[in-house]
């Protein structure tokens, strides 16, 4: 079997972060997180683990809600969603995310789609995984231009949820909610510490030696290339065409 491509490696890195999650929601335009959630579900099933449920926004087949688009937010408010994914045009060192655009607001010179449910879900979902493939100083900034949702809140603010980790095309960071900053936790194959430092616009904590994020084993890769991509096709046909080998 050919080794994991960079995108396949990302899917597997994110799937590893979902260990222990039983109910996972995936937002719009998120093929890699959706694939990761499906891979996690498939692995739990193979291992005889607890049943994992996934709801993918915009999918008909992978949608366990019957109360319209409000139900995702209501169920998250009730604490029923274990994990969710957010991205952002900008992400800063305090895990603030910007899905709206560059300064000045509202006449943003560069306008992104908008905050979606982030201003709410970031507060109530226990494990929010930030994902942005583009690891550059354009995206990973010192301070976001617009806060769609803050990374940390005052102790008095109701906040059972928040950022758990940040996955980029180069690396994996953990987020320390008490310190309010990222810690470099792993480098993807082919990337080194210097290129992460050079391409990150914020300060982050790092160990003396950062390990590599582990490559998937053969069983995981086989699951991903078979069952998972097949299931993903309904929602993300173009993405599946792109990453399917050969």
């Amino acid at each position: 079997m050919t080794p994991a491509s960079p995108k396949e490696h990302l899917i597997c890195t994110i799937a590893d972060l979902l260990v222990g999650c039983r109910t996972i929601a995936v937002g719009a335009a998120s093929p890699i997180p959706a694939a990761a959630a499906m891979l996690h579900r498939a692995r739990e099933r193979m291992a005889g683990g607890p049943r994992v449920r996934i709801s993918i926004l915009g999918s008909v087949q992978h949608n366990f809600f019957t109360n319209g688009s409000a139900e995702l937010f209501d169920s998250a408010a009730q604490g029923r969603i274990d994990a969710f994914f957010l991205g952002g045009g900008q992400i800063d060192g305090q895990a603030n995310i910007n899905l709206v655009g560059t300064e000045p607001y509202p006449e943003t010179p560069v306008r992104w789609p908008g905050s979606f449910g982030s201003s709410f879900l970031y507060f109530v979902v226990p494990k929010v995984i930030l994902f942005r493939e583009d690891h550059s100083r354009r995206v990973l900034v010192d301070k976001v231009d617009f806060i769609s949702a803050p990374g940390v809140s005052d102790p008095g603010t109701y906040r059972p949820g928040g950022p758990h980790a940040l996955v980029t095309g180069k690396a994996l960071f953990d987020f320390d909610r008490d310190a309010g900053r990222f810690q470099l936790a792993g480098l993807h194959p082919g990337h080194d510490l210097q290129s992460v430092i050079d391409n990150t616009g914020f300060e982050f904590a790092k160990a003396v030696r950062t390990p590599n994020t582990p490559p998937p084993d053969a069983d995981t890769l086989e699951l991903l290339r078979g069952e998972v991509l097949e299931t993903l096709t309904e929602t993300y046909p173009k993405f599946v065409d792109q990453i399917q080998p050969g």
């Binding site: 008909v60 319209g68 408010a77 201003s119």
Partner: protein, 273 residues
Amino acid sequence: MSDALMTLSEIAAKIESGTKLALPVDYAGVSMAVMPHILAGTARDLDLVCVPTGGLQPDILIGAGKVRSVETSAMTLGEAGGAPCFRRAVSEGSTHIRDATCPAIHAGLMAAQKGVPFMAIRGLIGSDVLRHRVDWKVIQNPMSDKADEIVIVPPILPDVALFHAAVADSEGNVLIGRRRELASMAFAAKRTFITVERVIEGSLFETEESAAGTLPAIYVNGIALAPKGAWPYGLSGEYETDSDALLSYAKAARTQEGFDDWLNTYLSEGARS
């Protein structure tokens, strides 16, 4: 058939200048069939409410210069990319944007549905979304003895809700299935107009199964027949989204000139339907 049956142009005529118009998310049933008739008319200064996000439909209305403001949690063409006319209009300041977050839109509709002056919602505190919304307030949770701030949002009261569904019956009831946001829109709006794929004889209330997914006729002010009326969007259980058509729109509308050309073609084709 019921006296509620209208033509597409009669529905379009109900959307007058200054109308606050609620439109559904792209997968919930978008009434694209009415669009050529709205675009050919003189209505302008529309205040759009996207429930809870928008796509092709509001983008076209913005590109055609018919929109004064838009309240939305996001605007996107999905896999086809960003909404080009929206981006242009926001950057130029020609359309007023009221950035929201999905559950705040649902909460506003819920407040309207219940006839209460506000609905409370968690999250948002510390965000710039909240900071820019002067109509949203932060209050102390009146039920708690401890310090506990919470956001309240006012009711969203659209003049008109417009969407597309698969089936209406001869009494004017409409099957919306699990797309309950369509019911929220209809509950909150003064008037609701719906295009449908087909009208069936009999009543959707005849069986419990269909009654459970039915929007009762008391919330429906008019229905028009429009087979494939969501195109190029799909309709759940009926047909798929035409991704190529969305992509070609996204490409054409990158410039205002390109959008204008696209619109001319769209209108000349729409006039034939």
